[in-house]
């Protein structure tokens, strides 16, 4: 009898503990709206160009009255800044927005706290992160963009192979893969069987021989094309909406695609405002706001106002992520030798 009572009591105790822990965890994940409003602002380091974030930030402010202090850099710069501040013990960010490659590296350094925004529950299951430390919210398919006034229809490159044609020598713009992580990742992903397979490095070498115009990140590739400095370039499709000028993209069979994530700082002093921000970005309202500005998003049925955008989505091939050591080797050695060889 005693044993049964003891067993029952033990069971009840464990059940209570589990329930209590679950509710604590659930509570820890929920944003307190009033507390968030009191926090007043949220500091976001992100890789989206500011003009494309304006709508989202205004809508967020309208809904919660919370200001967004937004600093934009390439994913490389975002992670560099966040890591440096973190290691120095002085993180200035509440939310980090960047591509998967660098988010994984920051995650490994312990920068992020767990948070699953309720609005992200409806995203495709392939994007669910088991540890809940990073939240996907948009995807960035890469293609060839070209200047519609300078490149005739007959001359259009249809594939990445076409860029190796001598007529494009010195007329292609890409970011410097020794400084830009996403470009290093993109070139490395050409090894996938859908693209160049084992011959990926030969392709990269041939591309380097075309003497491309190297710029800092993917955004200025677009303006290089608009200005006509390089009539063609490799960058995100979304930029044809985010930059004014005679530029559009080449439809392809497959698009190497870069998913981007939002993460909550583990040392955020404005955790509620930060959670509200991440959640709002994943709601249909938030997703519509950035889709309006050209972004491909994860919420089903929402597309950017880009021609044939709905046809792009099924052709996306998500990029694999090099480890930190692989990134180092690719950027400091492999691509440095290929692109900066005299």
């Amino acid at each position: 009898m005693k044993d049964r009572i003891r067993g029952t009591l033990e069971f009840l105790l464990i059940a209570c503990l589990v329930a209590a822990l679950s509710s604590v965890q659930a509570l820890a994940q929920q944003a307190n709206v009033e507390a968030g409003k009191k926090e007043g602002k949220v500091v976001v380091y992100g890789s989206v160009v500011p003009q494309a974030m304006e709508g989202l930030h205004q809508a967020f402010k309208k809904k919660y009255g919370i200001d967004v202090e937004y600093w934009r850099g390439s994913s490389t710069q975002v992670s560099e800044r966040a890591l440096t501040e973190w290691r120095a013990g002085k993180p200035g960010f509440d939310v980090v927005e960047a591509n998967r490659g660098v988010q994984l590296i920051m995650k490994a350094d312990g920068l992020f706290a767990k948070y699953v925004p309720p609005a992200a529950e409806k995203f495709p299951s392939q994007f669910r992160e088991k540890d809940a430390l990073i939240t996907p919210w948009r995807v960035l398919p890469i293609s060839i963009l070209y200047n519609t006034e300078l490149v005739k229809a007959a001359d259009l490159p249809k594939t990445f192979d076409d860029l190796l044609n001598p007529k494009w020598h010195g007329k292609i713009s890409i970011p410097d893969p020794t400084r830009h992580t996403t470009t290093a990742q993109f070139l490395w992903n050409l090894r996938r069987p859908e693209f160049k397979g084992d011959k990926w490095l030969d392709y990269v070498k041939a591309l380097a021989k075309q003497n491309p115009i190297l710029v800092e990140s993917l955004a200025p590739v677009t303006t290089t094309i608009i200005k006509g400095e390089a009539p063609v370039g490799v960058t995100y499709i979304k930029y044809i909406k985010q930059y004014k000028g005679p530029v559009t993209y080449i439809p392809m069979d497959k698009y190497l695609t870069d998913p981007n994530y939002l993460s909550l700082s583990a040392k955020s002093s404005r955790a509620n405002a930060a959670k509200l921000y991440i959640d709002f970005a994943c709601t249909p309202d938030g997703q519509k706001e950035i889709a309006e500005d050209g972004e491909f998003v994860l919420a089903p049925g929402i597309f950017p106002p880009i021609k044939d955008a709905e046809k792009v989505a099924p052709r996306m091939v998500f990029m694999d992520n090099p480890s930190e050591d692989e990134f180092k080797k690719l950027m400091s050695v492999t691509f440095r030798e290929i692109f900066f060889a005299k």
Binding site: V43, Y45, V49, P50, Q51, E69, Y70, W71, R72, G73, T76, Q77, S79, E80, R81, L83, T84, E85, R87, A88, G89, K90, G92, F93, V102, I105, K171, D176, T178, R179, T181, A184, I213, L214, V215, E216, S217, A219, P220, T222, T223, T224, I226, K227, G228, E229, A230, Y243, K244, G245, E324, F327, K328, M331, S332, F339, F340
Partner: protein
């Protein structure tokens, strides 16, 4: 307890002395501040270069970063590139400045006063913008000058390419010509023209006089200008940031940027190692520059003989001289300014044509007015310009007073310490400060205050230069008379010295405020989101391809510079009038 008592005994005598004579307190305070500003980033820069672990992570001391840097053949390539770039641009800038100064000051060329005024206008443009303007003009495929030349001469390929070492030298030379002009023109103004007259009486023509007399007399000034421009170029990050990357040319400053910010993962230890090397190079050159100029700088305003250089009659050649001066000014002022205005009013950069009318817009200016980030950057830069320049000039005034008017024991040490900021390249100083304020337990890292400290440290020599030359003219009798009347040191400084120093103070303040408003190469390493000033914002606009907002903001910055200068001059006039009552 015993320790506290011992400590208080140690400080008892100095504290008593300071109470008795506040002058001692001021000297000690100036010494401590100058020592801290100069030594902390220097020592921490060295520390960072020897530390085995990244910024903020505890580690051991190692030579590995030096071994890595100096066993990498690329280091020698960038050393060569940096020297070619700095030497080429300093020679070209000094040559252009010398020609312009000679025509504007010593000849009877028409519009000479206009040339003299126009030559200093680039000092209000953000230097990043000047480099960007030249990429719009000389880009190989779409550069406006290239397109014009191709049309005119029916060329298939663009004849000029700004994305080259030659392009970098050309652009940097145009940016630094105004600085060289100021040095050379001061020398031309102060030279004794009786030597030239004697040569002319002896039968020499104008060219012979210029070559045999004027040139040797102003040779020290030319050498000083060339040396200063060399230092300015080797530490320059503006031109390399815009041009070197597409040209795939690495110089010291781009390498430091690459390692500290641009690389993945960043390596601030290696950045510190390269920064130490750059600091060593600039120290050598600044040392020789100071040896060349220190006496002339200090006493230039007290010669008092009121030389009026003879105007050389060029005869019919005066129009040709005007054309040459006009051409130089086209390059350093007019072309970049036209590009700025043009790009600021169009939707996207294109070769001007019929469609330009359709692409005219005010959106770029509208964006500046409504964009929160721009507004914040403007506020930050104005705070740094007004507050930073004022504090820096006060510190400069006190330092100049200590080093020139007192016989305090440590003044030679203070003077020696001011040499460090002279030589500190902006990029190296920034890396040193990063290392400092990650470890110093003060809430400075990641705030506007780190920029405040950086600006004061880096540009203190500019303030010192104007204050030293002003303060040295004030006779000691005035100070002694004030003391004899019973005024203490602080009263004498406030009521006697400061009013007399006002012209120098205002002149120095204007120079500093306009520099602070446009500063880029130090800020880009140190700012944080929220404390971002205008220089890095302009660069980010460029990097993101937003040239329209960038150019419109650059014009706004230039206008604010002019307003600051006007307000400072007005304050000087009103102050003078009030004193006259």
């Amino acid at each position: 307890m015993n320790g506290a008592i011992a400590l208080s005994r140690i400080f008892e005598a100095p504290v008593r002395a300071m109470r008795r004579d506040p002058q001692i307190a001021v000297i000690v305070a100036v010494g401590v501040v100058i020592g801290y500003l100069s030594l902390s980033p220097t020592l921490m820069l060295f520390y960072g270069s020897f530390l085995s672990k990244p910024l903020g992570v505890p580690g051991d001391l190692t030579l590995a970063h030096y071994v890595h840097a100096y066993t990498d053949p690329l280091t020698y390539q960038l050393l060569l590139n940096s020297f070619v770039f700095a030497t080429g641009s300093s020679i070209l800038a000094t040559l252009l400045a010398a020609i312009l100064a000679w025509i504007a000051i010593r000849t009877n060329a028409p519009f000479k006063k206009l040339f003299e005024l126009t030559a200093i206008i680039p000092n209000i443009f953000p230097p990043v913008m000047l480099a960007v303007s030249w990429t719009v003009l000389l880009s190989p495929r779409t550069g406006l000058i290239n397109r014009l030349l191709m049309e005119l001469f029916n060329l298939e390929n663009a004849p000029l390419n700004v994305y080259s070492l030659g392009g970098m030298i050309f652009v940097e030379a145009l940016i630094t010509t105004p600085l060289a002009f100021l040095i050379v023109s001061a020398s031309l103004y102060s030279m004794d023209s009786s030597l030239e007259e004697s040569a002319r009486v002896a039968g020499s023509n104008n060219l012979q006089v210029a070559w045999r007399i004027t040139f040797p007399v102003i040779r020290p000034a030319l050498l000083a200008a060339a040396m200063l421009n060399f230092v300015r170029a080797i530490e320059s990050f503006e031109t390399p940031a815009i041009i070197a990357l597409p040209a795939r040319i690495e110089v010291f400053t781009t390498k430091i940027y690459r390692e500290a910010i641009g690389a993945f993962p960043p390596n601030q230890n290696l950045a510190a190692t390269y920064a130490v090397s750059l600091l060593a190079i600039t120290m050598v050159f600044v040392y020789f520059y100071r040896r060349l100029t220190v006496s002339s700088e200090r006493y230039v305003t007290v010669t008092g003989r009121g030389y009026r250089p003879n105007v050389i009659d060029l005869g019919k050649w005066r129009y040709a001289a005007s054309a040459v001066a006009g051409a130089i000014l086209l390059l350093i002022v007019v072309f970049p300014f036209i590009v700025l205005v043009y790009v600021s009013f169009i939707t996207y950069v294109h070769v001007p044509g019929v469609k330009t009318w359709e692409l005219l817009t005010l959106d770029n200016y509208r964006t500046n007015l409504t964009d929160a980030r721009t507004y914040r950057a403007l506020q930050n830069s104005l705070f740094l310009a007004v507050g930073g320049a004022t504090l820096c000039m006060l510190l400069a005034a006190l330092t100049a007073w200590v080093t020139t008017k007192t016989k305090a024991t440590g003044r030679s040490i203070i003077e020696a310490l001011t040499f460090i900021p002279w030589a500190f390249p902006g990029t190296a100083l920034a890396i040193g400060l990063l290392w400092t304020y990650v470890y110093v337990p003060l809430p400075i890292y990641g705030t506007l205050w780190i920029l405040f400290i950086a600006y004061i440290t880096r540009f203190l020599p500019y303030g010192l230069r104007t204050m030293t030359s002003t303060i040295i003219q004030i006779h000691d009798d005035l100070q002694d008379a004030s003391s004899a009347c019973g005024a203490g040191f602080l009263t004498t400084f406030r009521r006697v010295l400061l009013p007399l120093l006002r012209p120098g103070f205002i002149a120095g303040w204007i120079i500093l405020a306009t520099i602070y408003l446009r500063e880029f190469s130090t800020s880009v390493f140190l700012y944080s989101p929220g404390s971002e000033p205008l220089g890095p914002l302009l660069y980010h606009f460029y990097v993101d391809g937003n040239l329209g907002p960038m150019c419109s903001l650059a014009i706004v910055v230039s206008i604010i510079c002019v307003i600051l200068i006007g307000v400072a001059k007005k304050i000087a006039t009103v102050g003078h009038q009030l004193e006259g009552r």
